[in-house]
Structures are given as structure tokens and as C-alpha cells.
């Protein structure tokens, strides 16, 4: 056998071995997934990445860059070198990415798995499909936690207690951006829940909200990272503060701090996946295959074993079980649990997509005064 023949035969054998992998849709063998890091990325790794890698044998690379995802994706797109395959993004960012043409449009009927009972993905996700490019994953809420030992005998139970300095003297922490704060201020200034965004669309309404926030301005520590409020609560720097419910869950349940949740007027928001535009067909096929797997009913329910965020599919809710390590029931810690969701506020994505820059400029100018 000549050398050339050996080469030919071995190439043919190799091609046969590799063949099947190419046969099912020409997919890339590597997947770069971008997310937020910390406990959240860990829950995704355990619920989605590890099973998917075990099933398919591909390598998953994690990148904790979601906080800068919008700017980085735009830069990558302009450089024609998109290195990310799947990106975890807040719904508001997903809308922005979709508007900028940086995220691909998703057809829920063909690209997402139907529920086990046959309900189509479109119906299963329902109203949570807020953008053509967005695949919802979790429902989280921005809500308040308070120090049980620092608020006296009657703990705060209503959102307006945050604005009540007489009953609850001490510092509180609020996010250093207008979103959520403006809505809460208006709610506590006598504006009806369904009129909040109509009022907030007018300059007078914005001034009204800022005036209400002004009544507690000197007692507020403004946070910019989700970990700030838990730290401030643990140190006793603030007596109450807003943050994402999952952060408070880990503070209360996993770290046993004297903190309790106040769910009143919690603001629901969404987090999910987007697939960047400009991927090669092989990589896009792989990303879609991953998404099909990672957002099915069982996988979304699995994630709630590791973190207290509600699965975005209606069909996943009954499957929510116990915490993987602590063995406690997760359902009562979900923002969507009926006991917690007695009074909720729905964050208006469309409104903030329009008004974010305008109100943010006002808000920052107000803060600086």
C-alpha cells in the first residue's frame, strides 16, 4: 500500500466517523454562552449546560459578560466578528438589541419546543414573548427586603412604608436609575395602578414622582449592582432596600441573615435568551438546537431547583420542586407564588424603551442636585 493510499483510506475512515455529526444539520462543536455570572450562571450550568453537553458531546464556553452585552454585541457586529452564540439578556435589553438588528428573530412555532401536553410554545410562553427576538427564561421581580431586627414591632408590609420615614426611620437602598422607583413613588402618591404610565409620560407626572422620591432622598443609599442591597442589609447599613428577589432569597435562606421579604408591589420583569445576528449557519444551527433544548418545559423547571426565579413557561410551574441542596420547597419563594403575588406591578417594557433616556437624564440631574 502506497503512502497516498494509506492517507486516502484513513481520511475516508475519519470522514465516516465525523460524518454523522455533520449529517444532523451541520452544527458547530463549540458554543459560547454569555450570562450574568454568580449563582445565576451556576443554575444555568446545572440545569441546561451540563445535560446538553452530556447529550451532544460539545464544549460549552461560559462568558459572564451579560452586563455589557448590548454594547459588546454592537461592537462585535460592527467589526463583523461575533464570537458569542447565545446571550442571556434582560427583556429591555433584548428589545433594544432587536431594534438595533443585533439579535435574530425567533419563530416560537418552529424554533422552540412544544409543552409535553402538546400546547404550542407560543401559547405556553404567552404574553411573555415581548419581542420577536426574545426567548423568555425566567420571571424575576424587583422587590424589598427589610431587617427584621431594625424595623420595630410592626414590620413594613406595604410599598408605601418605604416612603414613611416616621414609622420606619433609617436608611433604605434604591436602585440608581429611574425604572421601578418612579412607579413606586407615583403609586404611593395616590396615582391609580393602571394610570401610572400615563402619568409618567407627562413632564408633570415625572416631576410628581421625583417630588415624592424627594421626601426620602436624604435617607436613601443608591445602588447600582444587584449585590449591593444584600450587603447593605447584612451590614445593617440600611433597614430596607430593593433588589432582585433571588438575591434576597440567598441572603435569607442560604446565609440565614435576619432579613425578610416584603413582596408588596413587586415589579415583575423577564430575563431570557437572544441569538446574535451574523453567525455562520453551522453556529446558528447549534445555537438554535441548544435553545430548543434549554427552554423546554422540564429544563426551565429544573433551573428553579437552584435559584428562586420563576420559570417562564406556564407548563413548567407544576414541575417546580425542592431546592437541590437545602431540600426546601421552592414554590413559596417564587415571585409568582399566589401568596407573594397578591399585589404585583407589571413593568411596561414598551414605555421604558421610549422614555428611558429622557427620564434617566432627568433622574440623574435630580440626583446630582
Amino acid at each position: 500500500m502506497s503512502f497516498t493510499k494509506t492517507l486516502l483510506v484513513s481520511t475516508a475512515v475519519a470522514a465516516m466517523a465525523v460524518g454523522p455529526a455533520f449529517a444532523d444539520g451541520h452544527m458547530a462543536n463549540e458554543l459560547t454562552i454569555v450570562s450574568w455570572g454568580g449563582a445565576y450562571s451556576k443554575s444555568q450550568k446545572l440545569a441546561y449546560h451540563d445535560p446538553y453537553a452530556a447529550n451532544t458531546g460539545i464544549t460549552i464556553i461560559n462568558d459572564d459578560s451579560s452586563a455589557e452585552a448590548v454594547a459588546k454585541l454592537r461592537a462585535m457586529n460592527e467589526a463583523n466578528n461575533v464570537t458569542w452564540d447565545v446571550v442571556d439578556a434582560e427583556a429591555a435589553d433584548a428589545i433594544r438589541l432587536c431594534d438595533e438588528g443585533l439579535a435574530m428573530e425567533i419563530d416560537p412555532d418552529t424554533m422552540l419546543a412544544a409543552a409535553p401536553d402538546g400546547t404550542s410554545a407560543r401559547d405556553d410562553f404567552g404574553a411573555l414573548l415581548v419581542s420577536e427576538c426574545f426567548i423568555p427564561q425566567i420571571v424575576y421581580s424587583t422587590t424589598f427586603g427589610y431587617r427584621t431586627d431594625l424595623v420595630g414591632d410592626t414590620p413594613p408590609s406595604k410599598i408605601c412604608d418605604v416612603f414613611d420615614l416616621e414609622a420606619y426611620p433609617g436608611k433604605r437602598s434604591l436602585e440608581k436609575r429611574p425604572i421601578n422607583n418612579m412607579e413606586w413613588a407615583l403609586l404611593c402618591d395616590g396615582v391609580a395602578k393602571d394610570a401610572v404610565y400615563d402619568v409618567l409620560a407627562t413632564p408633570e407626572g415625572q416631576d410628581q414622582a421625583l417630588a415624592k422620591l424627594g421626601t426620602i432622598k436624604d435617607s436613601v443609599i443608591w445602588w447600582s449592582a444587584g449585590a449591593d442591597t444584600p450587603q447593605l442589609l447584612a451590614d445593617g447599613e440600611v433597614i430596607m432596600g430593593s433588589t432582585y428577589n433571588g438575591r434576597l432569597f440567598s441572603l435569607i435562606v442560604e446565609q440565614n441573615q435576619p432579613v425578610a421579604m416584603m413582596w408588596d408591589a413587586q415589579v415583575f420583569s423577564l430575563d431570557g435568551w437572544i441569538i446574535p445576528t451574523g453567525l455562520s449557519p453551522e453556529r446558528q444551527a447549534r445555537a438554535l438546537d441548544y435553545i430548543m433544548f434549554a427552554t423546554d418545559t422540564q429544563r426551565l423547571a429544573d433551573q428553579s431547583k437552584y435559584i428562586s426565579y420563576g420559570p417562564a413557561r406556564a407548563s413548567s410551574a407544576p414541575l417546580v420542586g425542592k431546592h437541590a441542596e437545602l431540600g426546601i420547597d421552592m414554590a413559596p419563594h417564587m415571585p409568582t407564588d399566589p401568596n407573594n403575588a397578591k399585589n404585583t406591578f407589571l413593568y411596561n417594557l414598551e414605555f421604558w424603551a421610549d422614555y428611558r433616556d429622557d427620564i434617566d437624564a432627568k433622574f440623574q440631574a435630580w440626583l446630582a442636585k
Partner: protein, 423 residues
């Protein structure tokens, strides 16, 4: 002597005129030097100057409007915005034709985001209209004016068309006006409403606080550098490690450590309360304000002041001081008239380093600055990563760069840049 002048130009050994030969040698020398620095020069050009220039260019670039809706821009130019009446059917028809093309390319929402910077609400106007216009047939659906008004009231307001008309040029001064709290209105540049004015305040604050940080760095670093330069080598090296250790520690770790130290339930307040200097009820507020930013940034930037000072002081012979004293100078005179003037180049180098670094800082002010201790760079970061208004971010960056260059020029005029030494 008179021989050489009489026989014409001086010749080199190989017979060429000396002047020419010298020039050649000099040119060779220069070429060799240029070749030696060429890798660095090319690297700096490609990876530094070019991208920065390209980024800064965004502050005046405005192709998106004319590229996305070219027909409308032409038709809209004929419209008299001050008439108070809506544009005619031609404009609406052009808009319909442009939108159909733009929607196919998914460019209409991008245009909406761009125009939303100028007028709130245009983002959703374009997004919502896109969904409806997708179903239109250009040939049969005319006239379009009513159809546009049916989709959204916005198309029936003069302001929307004025905004599009005002911002249809390929170059715009809008971003720079925004950067100094003004806006480009249909009637020309105008001030922003007072409730939205923030950027000038931030520029001023950035400059003033950077100067305070630089001055506190000078005051703290000078004695340290003096001790370092005048101790025996072994002790000096040990102290040097103490200076360098924080320098090697992560910026975030150091900033977070200051949080633990300065907060109201923090280490410093706890000690003060324990000593009885401060009542438990009114603990000092040292963080989430300007004090926090100044303390944390002074600490973080201190090594940048100590190191150049130290390397300059090392070169000042201590014998000068002794000579001054032996000639009758007091300790103070010897220091102030003999030692200090020689150490000024170190102060200059350190100050330039610290000042330029501090006006660009944003992580530390973001974490410990609260609301009154944040810098202009925090706003730039917001526009780069959250609002995606890169034009405004570029304009703010350009202004910041210009301010630094002006200060550098002023420094050169007052102190002289030759008086700066890094070692």
C-alpha cells in the same frame, strides 16, 4: 590654513563633499531610529490612534437618517416647518416607500432608536409602524397620509416631522450640543430644559474633584517619597514593598475594602463610637458622597505620585542640604530653597499622571461616590453600554480629551514640560 578654503568645499575621506556626507549619515541615523521605533509606532497607530479617531468621529456622524429614508429626506427638505401644517402627501408617499425598504432590512427600528435620542416616543412610533407598514402594497394603497395617521397619532404631529427634518443632515452638531446641556431644535441650538441639565455640572465636578485628589496625593506622597529616598537601601526596599503592595492589588478589592472601612456601620465609625468620640446615633457619613470618592481615589492613585517623586528625589544629593546648612541656612530654608526646587519635576510628573488618570476613572466613583461623587466618565459609560447613544458618548469623550490637552498646554506654559521627570 588658507589651503583648505582655497581648494573649494571640504571633502570627506571618500571624496564626497563633507556637508553631503554628513547629511547622508544623519539621514541614515534617522531612518535607523525610525525603523527601530516603527513596530511601536505602527502598533500605536493601529490599535490606539485609529480606533480613538474613529470613535470620536461618531460625535458628528449622522448618516443613518439620510441612508435609511433617502426619499423622505429629499421630499421633507421642501416642507416649510414653520408653517405649522403637516407635510403633504408626497412626503408621506416617500416615507412609505422608504419604510418598506427599511423594514425589509430591519433598519427602521434602528432609525427609531436614533431619533428617540432627540424626541422621546419615536422609538415605539417606528417599531409599531413597522409592523403595520409591512403589510402595505405601495402600488395600490395610496394615498398614504391617512394610512399613516391611522397607525399612530405621532405621524399627525408637526413635531415628529420637524425632528426628522432637523436631524436629516449627514453631519450633526447635535451630539456636541447635547454634551454641553443644549439641544439642536428646529430653530437652531437651544438650552436643554433645566430639569435635564447635568453634563456641565459633571464636567465641573470631575475637574474640581480630580484637582483635590491630585493635591491630596501630593501632600501625602511627598513625605513618603522623601523617606524612601533618604533611608538606607535595605529599609527603603522594605518600605517600597509597602507602597507597591496595594498597587498590585485589584482595584475592585481596594474599592470594596474602603466601603467596609468607611460605611456607617464600618470599621472607622465603630472605632470612633467605641472611643466615645462620636455618638452611636449620629455616626459619620463618609461614603456614598464626595468624601468617599476623594478618600478611595487618593489611596488608589497614591503610588502613581510616590513613584515619580521617589525616582526624582533619589537623584538629589543629600550633600546639597548639608552644604546649605553649613553656609548658615536654617532647616526650613535649606529644604525650601535648595531641596524642594529640585524635586519639582517629580511633583509635576506625578501630578500629571494622577490628574489624567483620575478624570477618566469611573469604577471607584460608581461604587463609593453615591450621587454627588460621580464623574463625567460614569455618564460616558452609561451612554456606551446602556443607552447605546455612542454619538453622545463620543462627544463627551472628545470634550474630555480637549480639556486634558488644554490643561496640558497650560501646564507647559506655566511650569514647562521640560521640568517633568519620571526618573
Amino acid at each position: 590654513m588658507s589651503d583648505s578654503t582655497a581648494t573649494g568645499p571640504v571633502l570627506a575621506a571618500d571624496g564626497t563633499p563633507l556637508k553631503k556626507s554628513l547629511a547622508q549619515a544623519l539621514r541614515r541615523e534617522k531612518t535607523r531610529a525610525l525603523l527601530l521605533i516603527a513596530p511601536l509606532l505602527i502598533f500605536v497607530l493601529i490599535s490606539f490612534i485609529f480606533p480613538i479617531g474613529k470613535m470620536l468621529f461618531r460625535s458628528v456622524e449622522n448618516d443613518i437618517v439620510a441612508d435609511t429614508i433617502p426619499l423622505t429626506v429629499v421630499e421633507l427638505a421642501k416642507w416649510d416647518a414653520s408653517s405649522g401644517e403637516l407635510p403633504n402627501e408626497d412626503v408621506y408617499a416617500a416615507m412609505a416607500a422608504d419604510m418598506v425598504v427599511a423594514i425589509a432590512a430591519k433598519a427602521h427600528t434602528r432609525l427609531g432608536s436614533r431619533l428617540n435620542y432627540e424626541q422621546t416616543g419615536l422609538s415605539s412610533l417606528f417599531r409599531k409602524s413597522g409592523r403595520a407598514i409591512k403589510k402595505w402594497d405601495l402600488a395600490t394603497d395610496a394615498p398614504f397620509k391617512e394610512k399613516f395617521l391611522e397607525i399612530h397619532d405621532g405621524w399627525g404631529t408637526v413635531e415628529v416631522w420637524q425632528t426628522i427634518q432637523t436631524h436629516s443632515g449627514r453631519k450633526t452638531s447635535g451630539y456636541f450640543l447635547n454634551a454641553i446641556d443644549m439641544q439642536l431644535s428646529p430653530d437652531g441650538p437651544a438650552a436643554q430644559p433645566e430639569s435635564k441639565q447635568i453634563l456641565i455640572t459633571l464636567f465641573k465636578r470631575t475637574m474640581i474633584m480630580s484637582m483635590i485628589i491630585t493635591i491630596s496625593c501630593i501632600l501625602l506622597a511627598y513625605p513618603v517619597a522623601w523617606i524612601l529616598a533618604n533611608l538606607p537601601a535595605r529599609k527603603a526596599n522594605l518600605l517600597m514593598i509597602l507602597v507597591l503592595l496595594p498597587f498590585w492589588t485589584s482595584l475592585l478589592v481596594r474599592t470594596s475594602a474602603w466601603k467596609v472601612m468607611l460605611q456607617q456601620q464600618g470599621v472607622i465609625n465603630d472605632i470612633l463610637v467605641w472611643l466615645g468620640l462620636v455618638a452611636d446615633a449620629d455616626r459619620l457619613v463618609m461614603i456614598n458622597n464626595q468624601t468617599g470618592t476623594i478618600i478611595a481615589m487618593t489611596h488608589i492613585l497614591l503610588p502613581f505620585m510616590i513613584l515619580p517623586m521617589y525616582s526624582v528625589m533619589q537623584t538629589i544629593p543629600i550633600t546639597y542640604l548639608r552644604a546649605a546648612k553649613s553656609l548658615g541656612a536654617t532647616n526650613w530654608t535649606a529644604f525650601w530653597r535648595v531641596y524642594f526646587p529640585q524635586s519639582v519635576p517629580g511633583i509635576g510628573a506625578g501630578s500629571i499622571l494622577v490628574f489624567i488618570l483620575s478624570i477618566g476613572y469611573y469604577i471607584t466613583p460608581e461604587i463609593v461616590g453615591g450621587t454627588k461623587g460621580v464623574f463625567i466618565s460614569n455618564r460616558i459609560a452609561y451612554h456606551i453600554s446602556s443607552s447605546l447613544n455612542w454619538g453622545l458618548a463620543a462627544a463627551l469623550g472628545a470634550i474630555l480629551l480637549a480639556l486634558v490637552l488644554i490643561l496640558y498646554w497650560a501646564y507647559d506654559k506655566i511650569v514647562g514640560i521640560d521640568n517633568v521627570k519620571l526618573g
